[in-house]
């Protein structure tokens, strides 16, 4: 392989990787957000993402709802659905048994329910394409070629990340969310309503996933199985340390870029392996993940 080709592949891999990585990062953020406050890996995150995508598809294509209405409506539905699930189902499950395993099973249940619902409507029977809201004309960045849509995806994802950062760093509710993530018992004694915070976090997480769905759907064929993309987000979260929000973002980009570089340099059939190789490499070098903080040493 000559030098020019290597350089071209590197540029293309990194730029395309940043675009898809920004979507992985959003999904990883939604997973980590819930894990930090509820200690539950939400295995329904992919299906929340998928269902939100179908909700938008239904509104835009089948109801011909204008974009300015369809997008906020989708986000509201995602927020309300997830907050309600946390309030009604998970509260009951954790009351019946304190074991986190049961909460995890409940999220698996949600994933099947959402998949079933989408299939039931009939929209999930055949692969469907989501209308692009931004033109797909080409843009060159260096020697890498992407579309205007890709640029819009990347910038929107960055804006969402910036919004989340400001929310957690500079607002009363964000402060309370972080406090609940660190020490729920103490937060409760400071007057923080845990139930409310949990509902808000689940709702917010679903909104971020829904935005990810709106961004990536025009680039893929929509099926009821599209939630499988969440595997990449879990990989991103693990690379980032699973409890760190900045880690989730960096992890998303790492996985996205790794995937694209492997596809270009090795083989497109090796793409599926790339995230797991990345996980293994990171875990060998830093078992706690890139941003996982110190490994806890417990006194016995």
């Amino acid at each position: 392989m000559d030098k020019d080709l290597i350089l071209l592949f590197l540029q293309q891999g990194i730029v395309s990787g940043m675009v898809v990585g920004s979507v992985y990062a959003l999904l990883a953020l939604s997973i980590v957000m819930i894990f930090k406050t509820s200690e539950v890996p939400n295995f329904a995150q992919g299906e929340i993402f998928m269902a939100a995508g179908y909700c938008a598809l239904f509104l835009l294509v089948f109801q011909a709802t204008p974009v300015w209405l369809a997008v906020p409506l989708t986000l509201v539905v995602a927020f309300a659905g997830a907050a309600l699930f946390r309030r009604v189902v998970l509260t009951q499950v954790s009351r019946a048994s304190g074991s986190p395993v049961n909460l995890v099973i409940a999220t698996l249940g949600l994933s099947y329910v959402l998949k079933g619902l989408v299939r039931r409507t009939g929209f999930g029977d055949t692969p469907r394409s989501f209308p692009a809201l931004v033109s797909t004309d080409g843009v060159m960045i260096g020697q890498a070629s992407i579309t205007r849509l890709d640029v819009a995806i990347f910038l929107t994802a960055l804006a969402v990340m910036a919004f989340l950062f400001c929310l957690f760093a500079y607002t009363k509710v964000g402060r309370a969310m972080r406090a609940v993530g660190m020490n729920p018992k103490a937060a409760r004694l400071m007057g923080v309503d845990l139930q409310r915070i949990h509902m808000l976090v689940w709702g917010l997480s679903a909104v971020v996933s829904a935005i990810a769905a709106l961004l990536i759907s025009p680039k893929i064929l929509m099926t009821a199985e599209m939630g499988g993309i969440v595997t990449m987000a879990f990989a991103a979260a693990i690379v980032g340390g699973f409890t760190s929000l900045p880690g989730a973002v960096v992890g998303g980009f790492v996985i996205g870029i790794a995937e694209n570089l492997v596809g270009l340099f090795i083989s497109s059939r090796a793409i599926v392996v790339a995230p797991f190789v990345a996980i293994m490499l990171v875990l060998i070098v830093r078992p706690q993940g890139l941003f996982g903080g110190r490994v806890a040493i417990k006194k016995v």
Binding site: T171, L189, V192
Partner: protein
């Protein structure tokens, strides 16, 4: 005579059992407003369990807890801050990844304000003076922007106290505030607690093993052993009570002592 006034906190016939083990049995205590009341007793006597009942982390099997005449036995623990009940923990319960300032700010969660401007403020300006004063009083001035997990143990203890003060409590529940502190730090704590009760009119109920502190600051002392109250009175009365000496030192030593 503070003893004659209506108690700010009264616990009536509290019983709590874990499975077959009765940790606290038929325990009553009345804490008069503006006083420092110490709850002492050997390890495992049920002091922290009593605290956890009062701050609503445990649900008692029997008995009532009244705060300012209101029955709080069934209220959720998130309602405590709003009522003006703050506590610290024997084993620290800080927000480790937050700075000293942020920890105290979470303590003031109920006072952050509900207007949009207050909600969107990283450091609500109307709380700045109050938090500054708390930081100054607890001697944490040099550590405002230090993460809680990077403080030494003594300062972490003080931070728990500072965070509790930000609740603007009327009742302060302190679980072994002096444990693990050096003498110089205990002296600071002694002065601070006395000041809080005498000058600010705070009511303090504390569990403590450091007798030098208990005897110096307490108006009243209640002694708990094996989950039941064995003595109550002024520090002097309790010190010379034979049942107390026996509980702490054992029977034989007590006879010779």
């Amino acid at each position: 005579m503070p003893e004659l006034r209506t108690p700010l906190l009264s616990v009536e016939n509290l019983t709590i059992a874990f499975g077959g083990l009765v940790a606290v049995r038929d325990f009553s205590i009345a804490v008069a407003p503006g006083t420092i009341h110490a709850l002492i007793g050997p390890n495992g006597a049920g002091k922290s369990t009593t605290f956890n009942c009062i701050s609503r982390l445990y649900r008692p099997n029997a008995g009532r807890i009244l705060f300012d005449g209101q029955d709080i036995t069934r209220l959720p623990s998130s309602a405590m801050a709003g009522l003006g009940i703050a506590r610290s923990f024997q084993n620290l319960e800080l927000f480790n990844e937050l700075t000293v300032y942020e920890n105290i700010l979470i303590g003031a969660h109920c006072h952050c304000g509900a207007s949009l401007r207050d909600r969107l403020s990283a450091r609500p300006p109307h709380l700045a003076a109050e938090i500054d004063r708390i930081i100054e009083r607890t001697g944490l001035g040099a550590y405002r922007e230090t993460k809680a997990c990077n403080l030494d143990f003594g300062h972490q203890k003080l931070l728990e106290l500072a965070r509790a003060l930000a609740i603007r409590p009327r009742l302060l529940l302190l679980d072994e505030p002096a444990a693990g502190l050096r003498n110089r730090e205990i002296a600071i704590l002694d002065g601070l607690l006395t000041d809080l009760a005498r000058r600010d009119g705070l009511t303090i109920l504390l569990v403590e093993h450091v007798m030098q502190l208990v005897m110096s600051i307490s108006d009243r002392v209640t002694v708990l052993n094996f989950g039941t109250k064995i003595a109550e009175g002024t520090p002097q009365e309790v010190k010379s009570n034979p049942a107390v000496v026996e509980a702490y030192l054992g029977k034989e030593t007590a006879l010779h002592g």
